[in-house]
Symmetry: C2
Subunit: 503 residues, 2 copies
């Protein structure tokens, strides 16, 4: 694989200058066009030490307008980062639409090191690589352009390069003992590199191997590859938007009659369940005390909890969350109300705004509405194309799997009320002065789409209620029952999570 990158390719100064004359303007023009485009550009630099990874990043920053470029380089995970799932730090740093994001020592660094130093088996490496493939696919599916450069040097050339850097007082700092360590296990490094490239070179995120010996050749390769890829992607996305418009279907078509009148997962609930009087007060107190105790332990052990609340309008999410939050130390929990995304959030992948809110170890994060908006409101209202919300089921499962693997306790609640009960509550809100603000026209409109939402909820539970992250359907006609069930389920999940951590 790397034979083709050890041929001694080089470019003369005159040739390079001739190329550079037009190239700089082309790149600036493209960067300008990108600013109003609907996708970010993600550029990964990896490869052999001394082959020009840093130079590549600097080059792009020099040749283009650095205000529209975000550069990210990673060391060992910080304490903050270790407390979240491994991909948290990469999600946090993703460039928004219209910008370039350059990544050094990125998500490829760890698998490469682990294989070069043989601290992991090939099968374990492959698991990591599959996660990477899905990560990049998730971004590409939403339009991101991903360009990956593998900068290569032969072992001999690497030695010369390191010696040269060491000889110059100005660049000596760039070479550490680690570089020479890597040089000594060059073969293992390149074997691991070959495997990585082969596995993760997918059409949505291909690798370009760059011969790194001659700095002008290297620069020309990086710059022209970026230019061609961005130009092409601008064109492809423009066509894709036309296609989307052409394929646009009425949002969330209902099923044909005999299939539409079927019971849903919600119709199997016993909506008469209720807890009254003393039993309620006692259960509430008990479970809140239990939750406080468990949260204390969770804080000590660093076990985080993520609670997701979805449900019909007026189903009582707010009240349930308040009662739950009361049992938790405010320092140890955050409540994230999810409304329409902000401008900053709209410029990112739709999962980005949820990744960013993952808390440090031992805390509880309560999402009042969540990433499930994609397969609920966005599906029913047609805010995204069908292809996007059907794809979301997989993306959400991947996301939640990463939470679970990190030891995060995840509980998801759908608060269910009957249409009659909703009407009663809407009417009550209209009459009680201090509750009026809670009822909007949108609530009435949503109510008309009840069957479509019911179908969406049914699909959501079917596709995302997994052993790792099950849904709890809460019969919420009786608010007392709902609150006790939510508290009890949360406690049970946390208890089980603490037990798993002990093992």
């Amino acid at each position: 694989m790397f034979e083709a990158a050890e041929l001694g390719r080089k470019i003369s100064r005159a040739d390079f200058d001739a190329l550079a004359a037009s190239l700089r303007n082309e790149l600036l023009d493209l960067q300008f066009a990108l600013r109003t485009a609907d996708f970010p550009v993600i550029i990964v630099f990896a490869g052999v030490d001394g082959a020009g990874k840093n130079e590549g990043v600097n080059l792009l920053n020099e040749w283009m307008d650095p205000r529209w470029i975000v550069t990210n380089a990673y060391g060992p995970p910080s304490e903050e980062e270790r407390e979240r799932p491994p991909f948290w730090r990469y999600w946090r740093d993703l460039p928004p639409k219209g910008k370039f994001g350059l990544f050094l020592s990125s998500w490829y660094h760890l698998p490469l090191m682990e294989r070069a130093y043989e601290t992991r088996t090939l099968a374990e490496m492959d698991e990591r690589l599959e996660r990477i493939i899905h990560f990049e696919k998730t971004l590409a599916d939403e339009g991101a352009l991903i360009i990956k450069f593998w900068m290569h040097l032969s072992q001999k050339a690497q030695k010369r390069r390191l010696e040269k850097l060491e000889a110059d007082p100005l660049t000596r700092w760039q070479v550490g003992p680690q570089d020479w360590d890597h040089w000594r296990i060059y073969d293992k490094f390149t074997a691991a590199g070959e495997h990585i490239i082969q596995r993760t070179s997918r059409s949505h995120a291909p690798w370009t191997i760059v011969e790194g010996q001659d700095s002008r050749y290297r620069s020309a390769m990086v710059l022209t590859t970026v230019r061609d890829a961005v130009a092409r992607h601008l064109e492809t996305r423009a066509v894709a938007r036309k296609v989307e418009a052409e394929l646009k279907r009425p949002p969330a078509a209902a099923l044909p009659p005999p299939l539409a009148n079927q019971p849903s997962i919600l119709s199997s609930l016993d909506m008469t369940t209720a807890v009254v009087g003393e039993a309620y007060t006692q259960a509430l107190q008990e479970q809140r005390a239990r939750l406080a105790r468990l949260q204390q332990k969770a804080r000590e052990k660093g076990v985080s909890t993520v609670l997701v609340f979805e449900g019909w309008d007026a189903a009582g999410k707010g009240g349930a969350i308040r009662r739950l939050a009361a049992a938790l130390n405010a320092r140890d929990r955050q409540i994230i109300p999810i409304a329409a995304p902000t401008e900053e959030e709209r410029a990112q992948h739709y999962l980005w705004r949820f990744w960013r809110h993952l808390s440090r170890a031992g805390r509880t994060t309560v999402f009042d509405r969540s990433w499930y908006g994609r397969v609920l409101v966005e599906r029913v209202e047609g805010f995204c194309v069908e292809e996007a919300w059907t794809r979301a089921f997989t993306e959400i499962n991947d996301f939640e799997e990463q939470l679970a693997e990190h030891g995060i306790v995840l509980a998801k609640f759908w608060l269910h009320i009957t249409p009659d009960e909703q009407l009663r509550r809407f009417q009550a809100r209209q009459t009680v002065e201090y509750k009026k603000w809670k009822l909007t026209d949108e609530d009435w409109r949503n109510r008309e789409k009840w069957p479509l939402y019911e179908q969406a909820v049914n699909d959501m539970v079917e596709k995302t209620s997994t052993r790792l992250a099950p849904w709890t359907l809460v019969e919420a006609n009786d608010k007392n029952h709902a609150r006790v069930k939510i508290l009890t389920t949360t406690c049970d999940a946390l208890q089980a999570g603490l037990k798993r951590r002990k093992k």
Copy 2:
């Protein structure tokens, strides 16, 4: 996940008849439209025994024209099948464009059983599932529509169903002791099923879970899902073709000047290498005897060999293959000349025609030109869109990885001659009467595209020369040297393969 498929959904006879009236015609119309479409429909049935997998297959055969439907069900692999990589039998049975292919006990069967009976770890299952994801992606990328039904029953409902089948003398044969075995480990089955669905439900091949208790509901779900998916895919593909036309670029654009004039992997070869006189005769005899001995052992051990020959026109592929073949028992080897695909082959995925030629264990298969046509002639001549040939590198690596994993010895040869030498040979062919047929106008045309082909060869070696399946570049200006090098390399590879098998 399966809670949503245990709700007791059913459809009355009257409702079903009302739906059926239009449905049958719609399906027949779609099937007719499909016949001239550019994609096949692959339908997988999996799930709980007794939930209607067989009935689903029969249903589609009854409701549509069975002449355009291929039904495939799999038992344990036959001796013939065990001698090839596991996916060979599925590739063989893929429906051509315009047809439906129904699959029972398909590629999902083994991972499901292994997990239910816990003969494999979850990590091993995940590896199998990744292969499946890539298999389905490869087909979908070429346009295939993939529909997957998971037929579900609760444990109680399954019991009732099995008892009912047993009670009827006409259906008693359908229930074996294995069905009851599966029923007893129902929980493990559904846990494995959930994991499979979650992992392999991708946007290019989503699962539909069908509640299997009521036969009319089940039928309506299967039939309407197929109808909607086919109708949608016909529409999507029509748009995709328009997009392809719009994005069509000049085939295989050459690199910009300073980057195009670079040495390629071919320019690093020493083209003066030659073997003459006695040395040639002796080396040839030695290596042929060695190959004969090794092939004998390979036959005994069941180690297969696949040899791939690519090279410039007139580089001497034919002569080299003849000399190599002479050392092998004709029973034990086959030579597959690859020309333009036949009509039958054009109706399939481009890799299909190579899968079909994989030989039984212990044999040698020589491909005179190969699957690399995709990234050579098809790329340079623009026979496929750029997106297709860039994707092919990954597809080819996946394919070859499956060969290697199965213990097949793989050697790939690029026969290189210089342009001058080619000209000399072309001219010689023109003058020698019995060689004239070998030279066509196309050869002259290809010659004009030398730089484009050289770039394509360089990329091919860079992206597909892997440790498992390396390319051997053969300096073929001297035919003797080429023949000896090919023989020796083949022997070395076979010897190493036999050694691996012993371990």
